[in-house]
């Protein structure tokens, strides 16, 4: 077992960290206030190759893989969880087209997708409940020459800045799990953007609605095989979506650890820095232990995906474990700051708000436990 990162991974971490500190950090305040995605920044990330980290070279990416992606999201999340969320879903969209798109679809949208010049929003969730996939009510009707879609998708990341969406819809008249996925281009008749949500965190990352009203979708825009919609969605959610949330959790914990150590060394009480106080040291040790155990599980799960091995138990476990760890770590770091932690002048309150969003996004922690628990406990 070798814990030494490869030279590539090491260079990647340094480059992304520098990019995040130089290019993202100065925009965080503005993102907190305006809650808009800075498109200039998106373009710069595209130029750096961020959206193509898992995309094979022949499609315009670098094929560095999922472990590299984990490191990248972690480093972006250390500076801005919101931007890390926007980025991870951009990568998910492009990755889904590689994994499930037809040759013609790949030829049409790459290399632009790998360069972040066009963005895809994966849209599964509806107001009927994200956990209950069979309850989705968006309907696709095969009209012979085209598909007609009706429905409303909610909580869709990058909804208002993406040029494409992958929509999961129930095949009209089909069985309970008979879903298909469709690629919809912006500007398609009957397709529009709805409201933009106002979230407590992940500011700088847009979450909103996508609405289909008698939306006519050309036949060639069926995405993956007919009836395979749920499989298409779940592969994207497992390999990219959930792992992305894990990466953001790592970034938030890393940021919390650094902030906690810095403040503990600087804050003087009773004539000495509070880093001398055992309860402060305990909290810092706990943050560290949470961070490193989440990181090990995360890297292992990412490695499994890179090896094309079954990973859903590890990915689901990493998701709920790291999300809950991040909730606790951000809180502990905030506690160490005393009243300063509750002030908007310090990033601690932002970390706490961001951490809460890790719980529902890409499958709630309860659902993560169900997946891992079922895999582990039940006979297969």
């Amino acid at each position: 077992m070798d814990f030494q990162p490869t030279i590539q991974q090491d260079l990647l971490r340094k480059a992304v960290r520098q990019f995040a500190e130089d290019e993202i950090a100065p925009l965080v305040n503005e993102m907190e206030i305006n809650d808009d995605t800075p498109l200039d920044l998106v373009r710069k990330m595209g130029d750096q190759g961020f959206m193509g980290v898992t995309i094979p070279a022949e499609y315009g990416g670098t094929g560095m893989g999922h472990l590299a992606r984990m490191i990248m999201i972690e480093e972006v999340g250390r500076i801005s969880a919101g931007m890390a969320m926007a980025l991870q879903v951009m990568q998910m969209g492009a990755g889904m087209v590689i994994d499930s798109g037809s040759a013609a679809q790949k030829a049409k949208y790459f290399p632009s997708l790998a360069q972040g010049k066009i963005l895809v929003a994966p849209a599964i969730t509806e107001s009927s409940g994200g956990s209950d996939l069979e309850g989705l009510s968006t309907r696709a009707v095969d009209e012979g020459e085209y598909y007609s879609l009706n429905g409303r998708k909610v909580f869709i990341t990058n909804s208002h800045i993406s040029e494409l969406a992958v929509i999961i819809a129930k095949n009209e008249g089909g069985a309970k799990r008979d879903f298909s996925a469709f690629l919809i281009e912006n500007g398609t008749e009957g397709f529009r953007r709805g409201r933009v949500e106002r979230k407590i965190g992940f500011h700088g990352c847009i979450t909103g609605e996508l609405i289909m009203e008698n939306c006519r979708i050309p036949k060639e825009n069926l995405f993956g095989d007919k009836g395979r919609g749920l499989a298409v969605a779940l592969k994207g959610i497992n390999d990219y979506g959930r792992m992305g949330m894990v990466g953001i959790a790592l970034g938030l914990m890393q940021a919390s650890l650094e902030a906690a150590v810095k403040f503990a060394r600087e804050r003087v009480l009773y004539g000495k820095p509070i880093s001398n106080l055992a309860p402060i040291q305990f909290k810092i040790a706990e943050i560290y232990a949470d961070l490193e155990s989440s990181r090990l599980l995360a890297y292992y799960a990412a490695w499994l995906i890179d090896q094309n091995k079954k990973s859903d138990t590890q990915v689901s476990s990493a998701k709920f474990f790291s999300a809950e760890a991040a909730l606790q770590c951000t809180r502990k770091a905030m506690d160490i700051y005393g009243a300063y932690g509750c002030m908007k002048d310090y990033p601690l309150e932002r970390y706490c708000r961001d951490a809460q969003l890790l719980v529902p996004a890409d499958g709630t922690n309860d659902v993560m436990r169900i997946i891992a628990g079922r895999n582990l406990a039940m006979k297969r």
């Binding site: 030279i7 260079l11 480059a15 560095m64």
Partner: protein, 265 residues
């Protein structure tokens, strides 16, 4: 344009508190993470810009232990074409004279037809700012220090702006030449993912004292006339003077103080 860039690997500032001094005045820095001396990235960036504008090659030279290899990879990821690590047990403990001799030997051997050598103005660890000028002397070329702007003019000339105490100098320099640069010169690029992947296919060549034909007596500790006698923290002396009188008097008095004009510029 054939450009050589000298890059020194220095201990990461975050870890300076872990550096210990040995009795002989040298630094105990095993296990300390190395980074590229920050201003050397500006030198490399400038070389890459020149290559972008005029074509040619960019070659990086570094003298240091094998642990510098990984950081040299970073220079390749930024876009350098080739990298040479000048590394040998005999090179250890070098002062600026021995360092610049080894660098000169490396450049002469691998890049005899160089047009320009770029160095940082000073390292952040020992910071003598002498290696650049000494290297120019060994190579027998003209040099300028502390450049904050370089343009390549006609007739094989560089037009260079260098820092001066109350302004700047503009100097024309005929090639081949050596220029040491400041951090104001440019903003070093961050390697893209494509650059990072490509850098892993580039070769880093290690040159030993035998490759460079440098006798032991002229390199490293043996070839270093500088001996560190004592290390100490200079006492920090702050000079505070309270000016009195009316605001006008005080301002006038203030402006009469040596050095103040430059500060308030």
């Amino acid at each position: 344009m054939q450009v050589a860039v000298c890059v020194k690997m220095v201990p990461a500032p975050e870890q300076w508190s872990q550096i210990a001094f040995r009795d002989d005045g040298s630094l105990q820095r095993e296990g300390i993470e190395l980074i590229i001396n920050p201003v050397d990235r500006n030198a490399l960036e400038e070389a890459l810009k020149i290559r972008q504008a005029l074509g040619g090659t960019v070659t990086v030279f570094s003298m240091g232990p094998p642990s510098c290899l990984e950081r040299l990879r970073e220079a390749l990821a930024m876009g350098a074409d080739r990298a040479f690590l000048l590394s040998d047990r005999n090179f250890a403990g070098a002062d600026t004279l021995a360092t610049s001799k080894v660098l000169a030997a490396g450049i002469r051997k691998e890049m005899p037809g160089f047009d320009l050598v770029l160095c940082g103005s000073a390292s952040i660890d020992s910071g003598t700012a002498q290696v650049g000028p000494q290297l120019a002397a060994h190579l027998g070329v003209a040099h300028l220090t502390d450049a904050f702007s370089i343009s390549v003019g006609e007739q094989n000339c560089f037009q260079v702006r260098t820092v001066a105490s109350h302004g700047y100098f503009i100097t024309k320099l005929r090639k081949p030449a050596l220029i040491s640069v400041t951090r104001q010169l440019n903003k070093p690029r961050i390697p893209t993912l494509f650059d990072i992947v490509a850098s892993c296919n580039k070769e880093i060549i290690i040159l030993s004292s035998a490759d460079l034909n440098i006798p032991k007596s002229e390199s490293g500790l043996e070839g270093s006339p500088t001996k560190v006698r004592e290390l100490f923290f200079p006492p920090a002396r702050r000079l505070a003077r309270i000016l009195e009188g009316s605001i006008e008097d005080r301002v006038e008095e203030l402006l009469r103080q040596p050095g103040v004009a430059g500060v308030l510029k």
